[in-house]
Symmetry: C2
Subunit: 319 residues, 2 copies
């Protein structure tokens, strides 16, 4: 029986897991993503995380059938280019080759969002479907596609659901463009929006107080969830606006693709959970062309280790 | 060597062709689509058109390997449901069975826009690509997809590019929803828009005068083209708005799908031709996430008989 490694490389943390052929987790570990240095330093932390997970699973890294990696940025042949949220990673770095050399086993690198979509399709909330759209609602809004049982990546850049236009000449997006869905729904954009209204227009909100109380420097999913629980008016309005944008943008993708299922994941998606998945489905409804048979909308079912477990499928399934 | 029939069932005309195995046209015919009656009357005209084409090709309809039909509406198992632009066709009609019985050969029915996309992929402007989006810019804006060499229809309703949202709570679409791309770019919506501005707000335009001069009751593609040539200000502004919507909506689809090519067809698309395909490509550019490698944008290459020839591929290629 083979064992596999999986690493989820995020902007905040690196998560590693060792799994068996049925994707049962035999051991796991996490490290903080370095905020300084460069790609080699990040790769070194990834190696450590994987070795820690292997130690927990009582296997030798070199004995693994291979290690799969879910990474941000543009991926081609194991090389990772312009991974925006990672330190000094504008250029191209041979991540697969570096890790394979360090660990002594084969390494494959895939796009983090596509890996997570694939994991939900094979093991999670998308198990019932042949075709689905994964929407990862967090700092940004990423997307992944499974069409007829297989990942669809187009020319390598498919799934950018966050940059579907919901308003021509609309709000400025963190990508520099205007009117993208992410400009209304991404956590980074929402934070900019409420900060402006709070600091420049004097709109009242408890968001920043809650942030400080929780010892955070950003409006995390937890901070948003707390503010919503308390009925903070600015938080509620900003989330309404986000849900409206998600509804229009996801419905647009469904009108073009007509897939069976939509999986809502990501930090905000998972944290806000079923009530918000339901709200997003309701916000999609007025924009769906085939509104008599909307797609099924679910929250991502795999937990914190979903990304790492999903990455291991790159090896197990040779995708 | 087998011969095939193809019928393009449009809201205005029925076009039929007889082709050989290489899709060379051996004979063709056209009839006006009945504006009264019901599905059986339309089927009877389709039979006549196909028989006329067969006569021109000097073949017997019953000797054809089969006849393919591109039809509006929702298609399932040869039945056509709610074909909006055809007379009294709200319910379901067994079009394939009716024609097969009348003609004495096998008949397959496909979605008109998907058939036209497939034809451009196999024989026309999409020949160079494995994956493409067909955008049929006419009365409405329809879309068809080829992904990795095969038509993608989702659960049967994919390709509704016209109903991608470009403006939340935006202009009212002829489908009843708000902010759809078609609400800005479809010929029917553009006509409503200029009629309102002309009749209710007193905006000057030569569009309706040109329409009458050309003996038309609608602002046809030809009327629009003529008004643009003359620099009619309202026509120019309305087309600018349409091109802006097409740019945003098509770019949204590309951000999700990342296909190689976009084919602009349809009455307006073909009539306005290359200069407008170029303008649409330019309008897409600010919304493309991977803006360093935009998809190729072409005008549909198959002429007036493209739909009928494309429909014949339903039989030849068993699709």
């Amino acid at each position: 029986m083979s064992t596999y490694g999986g690493i989820d490389l995020g902007g905040t943390k690196i998560q590693a897991a060792i799994v068996d052929e049925d994707s049962n987790v035999l051991g796991s570990a996490r490290r903080l993503t370095p905020t300084a240095g460069g790609p080699p330093d990040v790769a070194a932390e990834m190696e450590t995380a994987l070795r820690d997970a292997a130690m927990a699973a009582e296997v030798d890294a070199a004995s693994l059938a291979g290690v799969g990696v879910g990474s941000p940025g543009t991926i081609a042949d194991g090389n990772v280019r312009s991974a925006r949220n990672l330190p000094d990673w504008q250029g191209t770095f041979p991540l697969a080759a570096t890790l394979a050399h360090a660990l002594g086993c084969p390494v494959k690198v895939g796009n983090d969002v596509q890996v997570a979509t694939d994991a939900e399709f094979k093991l999670g909330a998308g198990r019932l479907y042949r075709s689905l759209l994964g929407v990862f609602w967090g700092t940004g809004v990423g997307g992944g596609l499974i069409l007829d049982g297989k990942p669809w990546i187009g020319r390598g850049g498919a799934g950018e659901i966050g940059h579907v236009v919901v308003e021509i000449d609309g709000a400025r997006c963190t990508c520099g463009r205007r009117g993208c869905m992410e400009a209304y729904a991404g956590r980074a954009a929402m934070e900019l929006h409420v900060r402006q209204l709070h600091e420049q227009k004097g709109r009242k909100t408890e968001l920043f107080k809650l942030m400080r109380e929780q010892g955070r420097e950003r409006l995390t999913s937890g901070v948003w969830a707390r503010a919503l629980e308390r009925g903070d008016k600015l938080a509620v309005q900003t989330l309404d606006r986000a849900v409206g944008a998600l509804g229009a943008g996801i419905a647009s993708a469904i009108n073009v693709l007509d897939v069976e299922g939509v999986i809502i994941g990501g930090g905000l998606g998972v944290r806000l959970g079923h009530p918000y998945a339901k709200r997003i489905a309701e916000a999609m409804q007025p924009h769906l062309f085939a509104d008599e048979r909307p797609p099924h909308v679910h929250v991502a079912a795999l937990g914190d280790l979903g990304g790492a477990v999903g990455a291991s499928l790159l090896i197990r399934d040779g995708a």
